[in-house]
Amino acid sequence: MKAVLLIDFGSTYTKLTAVDVESETVLGTAQSFTTIGTDINDGLNNALAILQEKTGKVEFAETYACSSAAGGLRMVTSGLVPELTGEAAKLASLGAGAKVVGIYAFQLTEDDMEDIQKAKPDIFLLVGGTDGGNTECILHNAKMLASIQPKFPIVVAGNRTAARECERILAGCEVYICPNVMPKFGVLKIEETQKQIREIFLNRIVQAKGLSAAAELLDDIMMPTPSAVLQAMELLAQGCEGESGIGELVAVDVGGATTDIYSIADGMPEHMSTVFKGLPEPYAKRTVEGDIGMRYSIQGILDAVGIHRVAQKSGLTQARVQELVDYLKENTDKVPDGNDEMEQLDFALASMAIEEAVRRHAGTIEETYTMMGQTFVQEGKNLTKVGQIVVTGGSLIHTRRTAEIAAHALYSPAQPASLRPKKAGVWVDRKYILAAMGLLSTHYPQTALRIMKKELEYYGDPE
């Protein structure tokens, strides 16, 4: 046996997954409250004790961790035009596993600076202008950022013509120069920047967030949790040498405060006659819906889809839905626990959360008539041909109706313009191992992939 311990320091729970990389099995999972306020090792040791009750005494050969504790990796971005470099900066940050707490476009104002100061980002991503294009905006924004206190690391990934000058303006700040996230119009190039963001997270943020005490017992990986999940999803979709993947997929994590959506898919138009508009999106794309969550953001679901739909889906009256929602908003740790009404409500809320979050993530198609006849305009990713959906999150794994809820990620005739998967098999991550498998995949990709294919419950096509 060669045991590896994988740790996810979450904002609420520290979750452990122990695997044996020789037999390619999960030895056990356990969780305990994260204790970032005192000593992060307390929560870790508690969880370890729980784990070892299940597995017996295990000597771990290697230990790896990811973290979203202490607010995760909090980033603010600024670009030039909102739909172009502004969007590119957002996509880059989300894909690097960040929680984006501020998105700015055009020239930063004094008011913006006050907000940024309050937001206290861990990293700022400064972009704007294609290579050889506009330099005025990024230089202005660099000047605005130069005097901000307290300082934070700034990644500059804009017009290369302005890169060195930005560095000079920002002397005294921790500055990292990366290639332009949009070197040419309509070309997205974010990998280098994401790598840099993760490196800063590893070197600097881990210490600042009180995780260094734990870092001593880790071997070498420390990444933001969403970045670990994205890595696991890429592996699951694409496979690796010696083990095939399951093909293009959409993954959904419905949490208490946010809902994360990942798509590993090309997403370009199916037909030659379809005109593509807007920025091409990354093959591995992550979005986060901050207003869609099962407890802290429960009201957001009602606001987004309308209370009538939640009432209809749950079979409860609108008044009762609102009553329960108001209660759960305050009592965020309450779970249905056999209560029929609550189960009905959580079923409806989770279904609507998935529908809304995947709708926002997926692209759209619009039919228009021109002098040349009918034509289609696509924006964002076309996920209609994606064949697999992976779901996780408390509300989905603690119910028997998982597949029914997951089906809300699919294409719906009621929203024909939304390019969601038409037909897909559902995989359920009941043991919460996605982040752990992302971590494991750095050194043991084949093992991580085989464990995922074994441990994720396959439900087939819900239709």
């Binding site: 035009v81 202008g129 050889g132 294009g133 119009f185 005109v275 508009k277 002098m371 040349m372 034509t375």
Partner: protein, 144 residues
């Protein structure tokens, strides 16, 4: 570096117009003539030209329209450019920009009133447009 020496053009076919061939010809002709060309393709909205021109710090916007509805599509472009901080950016338009047989002098006058620097009738050779762009961008004697 290599591209800043060149003048940057943003080009595309405006409105619900899917005529792609002329657009490709112009792209090659302009590139050949030494311009850096940001080609937005077909079915381009006014906002898209403007967004691309801002990011790429464009020197001029060249709008094509071949389906006869160009006059409607082109209206208000100058005002939007002003609003977006692209004050004074040269706007050039060409193609079958109006419906029916109309005197081109009339048409040209209407487009100039709308704030376009140049308007070209159907069948204009790319060389003519390139010449006009050189003049508009004060590129006398340069090879763009």
């Amino acid at each position: 570096m290599e591209n800043r020496e060149k003048k940057v053009l943003v080009i595309g076919v405006i409105g619900a117009d899917v005529h792609a061939v002329g657009n490709k010809i112009l792209y090659h002709a302009f590139t050949e003539a030494g311009f850096e060309v940001v080609n937005l393709g077909v079915m381009v909205s006014q906002e898209e030209y403007i967004a691309a021109a801002i990011e790429s710090n464009a020197d001029a916007i060249v709008i094509s329209s071949l389906y006869g509805q160009g006059e409607l599509d082109c209206r208000g472009m100058r005002e939007k450019c002003d609003e977006a901080g692209l004050k004074g950016i040269p706007l050039v338009v060409g193609g079958n920009i109006v419906i029916g047989k109309q005197k081109f002098e009339e048409v040209e006058r209407r487009f100039k009133d709308m704030g376009y620097d140049r308007a070209f009738p159907p069948g204009t050779a790319p060389e003519t447009t390139i010449e006009a762009l050189r003049e508009l961008l004060h590129m006398d004697g340069e090879t763009a």
